[in-house]
């Protein structure tokens, strides 16, 4: 990005009241971005399910408010031309923005904010598009072997210049997608959201002056830096702690893929090292993890676990150091396929939670349903009209320090389910049942949430795709809590036959009258189920969320029999002995050995290394990060 006058951040004090007023105004602007998009977007994924993320940055591209880490400085470093007021930049290429977005479905929009002819910040937002072209509706083929097999990539391009739409570019993009009207509406909603933020930032500058605004942005970043420094000192141990977990398979029959994290502290700096994670996969489950994004995840996690009142932003980034070996599942080399990265993305939080739990187990949660399960259904109806439904499903929230995990709720914030009446009004489908699965939540002092069971009756011939995980490994329980149940998908054909579908599959033909039984995983339990108050176990049985059998086998509760319960619990305690810190279910070898018998699916096999993508060793990666830190420390800020 050349020839742009970037505003200098003045070295002035802002009085604390003004600081808080501007903080409030920025927070409001960020919520207004959401509100504008929700009301104008067309696709159910954004509109009903809220798969979108906003932010506002300072002149250097550091997020001051928002929900995701910044990426702008990295992305604009190589942008070939100047940006001007009224410009809007669009990209969907994870490889062109350092993984800020991690699959081509996410459309990322950037709006530079100018004031008095200087660049004073950016507003930015990305949202999940229903379709981005490519071989399959949804643009998430489970069998893709490179990103070329997924969909069109848009490098950072201007779609508005000085406020005027660049129609050639917009039309070229929309010419490649299956639902151009929907993409256009969603895109314009995102642009409108970013423009709203721009307007609000202008108002703040007019009211308080540009210098005050810029100094406030810095002060807000500093505030978070200081708060986070304390959290790190209190909660990250000096001696390294590790935890590992798995993504079950890559959609091509390989797996499971290990993700391993080691955490340690040096002074008030924390190190997060992914060495030991498996090499990148051939299938599209690679997750191109942006380091800034991961720092944001860590920050959010620490803040939520330990002090939810703190405003989080990029201010604490210099305190965190992230090591991800190049060529690994979390930093794949181009052109690795990335479409189905949601499994590794979610597993990352399981691993992060598990690692931090080793130091402060009382504060952390078990593992949840562990991904964003998708169901896609498309075809041509009897009138010859193309239909295409994509639905994100939810599952069991883990048992938590504050209480039970919710049954069938979204792990992602603010996502919502699609109303059955909406589905039936617009798509050739009937939902025969939508409920949570009794006993699927892991037992615990605080129970894991139950997974979801949804019965789709297809009313037209078409094709379906499924994206899920945790069909092989278990959502683990913590501190004596037991694991949740695994996911499964069953297709009941109209001819009476029944087949178990893989957790990740595409192009499954269905006929009118076929029924898909879609079951997601439960959440793991938190702490010892034998300590759970009897009346709460009995209430769950009353509600049908836990069966009498499970009440007895996992909680030691004989419904309505207090003395029997006491006796049973005593015997179970004696037999069991000490509780496990983590209960991941049976050992992996056993899970693989019993896979076919238990799931009627073939177990995944260990992948051959990809010759074109050799992985950096852990030592090399650590050295690279330390050298980079030193360079940055020696440069003037």
């Amino acid at each position: 990005m050349k020839d742009v006058k970037i505003a200098q951040i003045p070295d002035i004090e802002v009085d604390p009241v003004t600081l808080d007023i501007i903080e409030g105004a920025l927070k409001n602007a960020r919520h207004e971005m959401d509100a504008v998009l929700f009301r104008t977007a067309m696709s159910p994924v954004i509109r009903e399910q809220h798969d979108e993320f906003p932010m506002i940055t300072d002149p250097l591209g550091r997020m001051v408010v928002g929900q995701f880490g910044s990426y702008i400085s990295e992305m604009m470093e190589t942008y070939p031309e100047p940006v001007e007021p009224g410009d809007v930049i669009l990209t969907n290429d994870p490889y062109k923005c350092g993984g800020a977005i991690s699959h081509v479905n996410d459309w990322l929009v950037l709006v530079p904010i100018f004031f008095e002819e200087e660049l004073i910040g950016w507003s930015s937002m990305f949202g999940h598009m229903m379709d981005m072209g490519g071989p399959l509706p949804g643009s998430l083929p489970t069998g893709a072997k490179t990103i070329y097999g997924e969909a069109m990539r848009i490098p950072p391009v201007k779609i508005f210049r000085k406020g005027e739409p660049v129609n050639d570019v917009i039309n070229m993009i929309l010419n490649n997608v299956r639902l151009p009207d929907m993409n256009r509406a969603d895109l314009m909603g995102i642009v409108a959201g970013c423009r709203t933020a721009e307007k609000r930032v202008h108002e703040i500058c007019e009211r308080f002056g540009k210098s005050t605004y810029l100094a406030t942005c810095k002060a807000l970043l500093d505030r978070t830096y200081k708060a986070m420094a304390q959290l790190i000192l209190q909660n990250i141990p000096e001696e390294p702690q590790s935890f590992e977990d798995w993504v079950d398979d890559d959609g091509l029959g390989h797996g499971p893929y290990k993700m391993k994290l080691t955490i340690w502290r040096e002074g008030n700096h924390a190190f997060f090292d992914w060495s030991g994670t498996d090499p990148q996969a051939m299938g599209p489950i690679n997750f191109y993890l942006n380091e800034g994004m991961f720092k944001m995840f860590i920050g959010i996690y620490l803040i939520m676990v330990f002090d939810p009142q703190i405003l989080f932003n990029d201010g604490f980034y210099p305190l965190l150091h992230v090591i991800i070996p190049d060529g690994s599942l979390l930093h794949p080399k181009f052109p690795a396929a990335l479409g189905c990265r949601t499994h590794a993305l979610t597993r990352l939080f399981d691993v992060l939670g598990g690692t931090l739990a080793r130091k402060s187990p009382e504060h952390t949660t078990a593992a949840g349903y562990g991904t964003s399960p998708y169901m896609l259904y498309s075809g041509w109806d009897r009138n010859g009209d193309f239909y295409y439904l994509m639905e994100i499903s939810y599952g069991g929230i883990p048992g938590r320090p504050i209480g039970d995990g919710m049954d069938g709720h979204s792990w992602w914030p603010l996502f919502e389910n699609i109303p059955t009446e909406y589905l039936e009004a617009y798509y050739p489908v009937r939902i025969d049942s939508y409920t949570t699965i009794t006993d699927s939540g892991g037992a615990g002092f605080h129970r894991g949430g139950n997974g979801i069971e949804k019965l789709y009756v297809f009313l037209e011939p078409g094709e379906i795709s499924i994206h899920d995980d945790r069909w092989l490994t278990y959502p683990w329980g913590i501190l004596g809590g037991l694991p949740g149940k695994r996911s499964e998908k069953i297709l009941r054909r109209i001819d009476g036959t029944e087949e178990r579908l893989p957790s990740k599959c595409d192009e499954v033909r269905v006929q009118a009258g076929d029924v898909l039984v879609y079951r997601t995983a439960g959440g793991g339990g938190w702490k010892d189920p034998l300590d759970r108050p009897v009346e709460r176990v009995e209430a769950d049985v009353d509600k049908g969320l836990v069966s009498r059998e499970k009440a007895e086998s996992d909680y030691g509760v004989l419904v309505g029999d207090a003395t029997g319960t006491e006796k049973l619990r005593k015997a179970m305690r004696a037999k069991r002995g000490e509780v496990k810190d983590f209960d991941l279910g049976p050992p992996l070898e056993e899970i693989l050995a019993t896979c076919e018998a238990e799931t009627s699916l073939q177990p995944p096999v260990a992948p051959e290394p990809l010759s074109w993508a050799p992985m950096e060793t852990g030592e090399q990666a650590l050295r690279r990060v330390r050298e980079q830190d030193q360079r940055e420390a020696s440069e003037p800020a």
Partner: protein, 690 residues
């Protein structure tokens, strides 16, 4: 027989206003509320106002009543035990809700899930199914349903809801279940979802219907008490209840659909503010009702409130038409604090409540509240009018000084900081209902009421550019006035999902006509005179498959003349106003609606007879100093009761009355109009950006 009585029950006071239809007689009484049985307080008030006015109970034409019985039942989780019958496969509809967890990322860790209005163990699934077009997929299994009904009633539920999938498209099964229940249990309260909210989206409809069942026995009990006590007093005229959309409904409808009155309280405030403002000549207003623990704001255009299709109550979003009031959890009792880890100045959401209250009340509270900050800077004089309460200035200073220490500010700067933050929060709320909807707040007057509204209104208006600020006399409670001027209102709607190009204008017109007939029939049954009846029509519209609808008002005549394109054009205009652009996409209708309105005569308010001059010095009762941007300015304190029409007051000034205090800032001046409203304007025109 020519009097109308407005009665509004608030948290602290019950407010009554008695007006003659033709003459300009108005009487007003305020008595303490009786939360255990609010009808007691009402009765005391009615007895008093009749005695003081010399009007007999037989002379009353109408009683209009705003009540928070339903609201409180929800907020205090003290409603009925509700049984729910839903479609097979959907028994966990309320348990699953919309599956939402709060933001930001990992917000699920700290989410507390509220208990739904109907418990899972009180929910049963009926063997039946409709499809989205209203065709029967599985016939209703009446035998099975009868067993469910018996089972639920035997288990002890007090109120029943029936909400079936796709009942918005065909309510036959819901209606049949209601019949079955009524046959076997004639008096058992039952709510069917297609009656309460005949719109699609099953969770919202079920929740709203269950909320109705949840508050129904409480409201019915209250109404029974009220009716019999009023009868004992000799009141024989109809009693009507204020709905959340500021319309009136009869007692019998209230007993059936109490959920429509769930926000009766704030609706009364807004209706009252509109009445006061239009009389003073202001049709476009922002209402600003700031109380002890919360503040309600609303935007009203052309003398009418904007109506939202849903409202938030406690943890739930209930889909009933409501005055579009935005509520913020901050008021005079909100506590300021400085969190250790961030050193930020925060105001609220914790509140000192009524007990112990702000530090300055001297009742043992030591937390620094917004009220204490007002005392420290001198906006609130140490002795309140009437001499009932002496404020403890030192206690307020000690409390606020703690904030100063934490921030490195002196006590006055800290107090000013607390006020700046809270005023900014208020402006944020006002921005939400104005700027974010495409309105320019500078085109609106700000109507300030509630105990703390008039104290903050000038500062908030300065941020928004909304002048004049209008402070009516007795601004502590405007609701009874709102009750008095409310019109009868009831909606008749039908879901009709069709894009403009796939629909026939004739079909739309005939459906609207049929809904209009329903509305007329209702107005007749309510006994509204023909010349006071009207029916308004609207269509909820959106771009094809968008998630949110915008109501577009239209007349049958225009629709017949111009066809459905007119709807699309109006929708596009509104969309552009709200969101700044229109789309080349298809426009889609979602709900057709007729609203029956029965207008009531508005009481005349007397103009003040005595026209005073600009000199207000006769009303000065004291002088003290007020802190303003680092300086102490000499400030007159006025007694509002002594102000006369035409009086002018230069800021800074403090105007005190029995239930509120008005602050006029330096650089602004106030004038008293012919209705004794205080109008505050800037001395120099200011049009800040908003």
């Amino acid at each position: 027989m020519a009097y109308r009585l407005g009665v509004d029950v608030g948290g602290t006071f019950t407010d009554l206003m008695l007006a003659h239809d033709k003459t300009e007689e108005v009487f007003r009484v305020k008595t303490p509320s009786t939360p255990a049985d609010p009808s007691e307080g009402v009765l005391i008030g009615v007895r008093r106002i009749l005695k003081e006015s010399g009007v007999s109970a037989a002379e009353l034409d109408y009683v209009m009543h705003g009540t928070t019985v339903a609201t409180n039942a929800v907020l205090e989780a003290k409603g009925a035990r509700v049984g729910l019958i839903t479609t097979k496969g959907f028994g966990q509809i309320l348990h699953l809700a919309r599956s939402q967890t709060p933001g930001p990322l990992a917000g699920w860790m700290i989410m507390i899930k509220p208990d739904p209005p109907a418990a899972l163990e009180d929910t049963r699934e009926a063997d039946e199914r409709m499809d989205a077009k209203g065709n029967v997929v599985d016939a209703l299994n009446e035998k099975q349903v009868q067993a469910l009904i018996e089972d639920l009633i035997e288990s002890g539920v007090e109120s029943l809801t029936v909400s079936l999938i796709n009942s918005y498209a065909n309510p036959a099964h819901e209606r049949r279940i209601k019949e079955l229940l009524t046959e076997s249990h004639p008096d058992f309260p039952v709510t069917i979802s297609s009656d309460v909210l005949p719109e699609f989206r099953e969770y919202e409809r079920t929740l709203t219907a269950c909320m109705n069942s949840y508050v129904r026995p409480k409201v019915a009990g209250y109404i029974k008490n009220l009716e019999s006590s009023l009868e004992d007093l000799g009141v024989s005229c109809p009693v009507n209840i204020l709905r959340s959309d500021a319309g009136l409904m009869s007692l019998s409808l209230t007993q059936e659909k109490p959920v429509y009155g769930i926000l009766s309280g704030p609706a009364g405030g807004v209706a009252g503010a509109i009445a006061v403002a239009t009389r003073a000549g202001f049709d476009d207003i922002l209402t600003f009702d700031m109380g002890g623990t919360s503040t309600d704001v609303a935007l009203c255009e052309n003398g009418r409130p904007t109506i939202a299709r849903e409202t938030e109550l406690g943890h739930f979003r209930v889909k009933v038409p409501s005055v579009n009031v935005h509520s913020v959890g901050a008021g005079g009792g909100s506590i300021a604090h400085v969190p250790e880890i961030t050193k930020a100045l925060r105001v609220g959401p914790e509140s000192a409540g009524a007990d112990p209250g702000p530090a300055c009340y001297g009742k043992g509270g030591d937390a620094p509240t917004v009220t204490d900050a007002n005392v420290v800077v001198g906006h609130l004089p140490p002795s309140l009018i009437g001499g009932e309460m002496q404020l403890d200035v030192e206690a307020a200073k000690t409390a606020v000084a703690k904030i100063g220490e934490a921030l490195g500010l002196d006590v006055h700067q800290a107090a000013q900081g607390i006020l700046d933050i809270v005023n900014e929060n208020m402006a944020g709320a006002l921005r939400l209902v104005s700027v974010q909807k495409g309105y320019d707040p500078r085109d609106f007057a700000l109507i300030a009421f509630g105990g703390a509204g008039p104290m903050h209104a000038n500062a908030v208006a300065a941020i928004m550019g909304s002048f004049p600020v209008l402070v009516p006399p007795g601004p502590g409670l405007l609701c009874a006035e709102g009750d008095l001027v409310a019109d009868f209102r009831e909606e008749f709607a039908q879901t009709y999902i069709r894009t403009i190009d796939r629909a026939e204008a004739e079909e739309v017109v005939s459906t609207l006509r049929a809904l209009g007939e329903d509305a007329r029939g209702w107005l007749e049954r309510e006994g509204i005179a023909a010349d006071r009846q009207s029916v308004d029509y609207s269509v909820d519209m959106r771009y094809y498959r968008q998630g949110y609808e915008i109501p577009v008002t239209v007349s049958i005549e225009d629709l017949e003349k111009n066809g459905l394109e007119l709807l699309a054009e109006r929708f596009n205009e509104i969309h552009e106003q709200y969101y700044g652009y229109r789309m080349p996409a298809e426009c889609e209708m979602v709900n057709l609606r007729a609203v029956g309105v029965g207008r009531v005569a508005h009481p005349q308010r007397p103009e003040a007879e005595q026209i005073g001059d600009a000199d207000a010095s006769a009303a000065i009762i004291d002088e003290h100093k007020v802190y303003f941007e680092g300086d102490w300015l000499p400030t007159q304190i006025y007694d509002r009761a002594k102000l006369q029409t035409g009086n002018k007051i230069e800021g800074p000034a403090v105007i005190a009355e029995y239930d509120s205090t008005t602050v006029v800032l330096d650089g602004y001046s106030a004038e008293v109009d012919q209705y004794l409203n205080i109008l505050i304007n800037p001395n120099r025109p200011n049009r800040p950006n908003s």
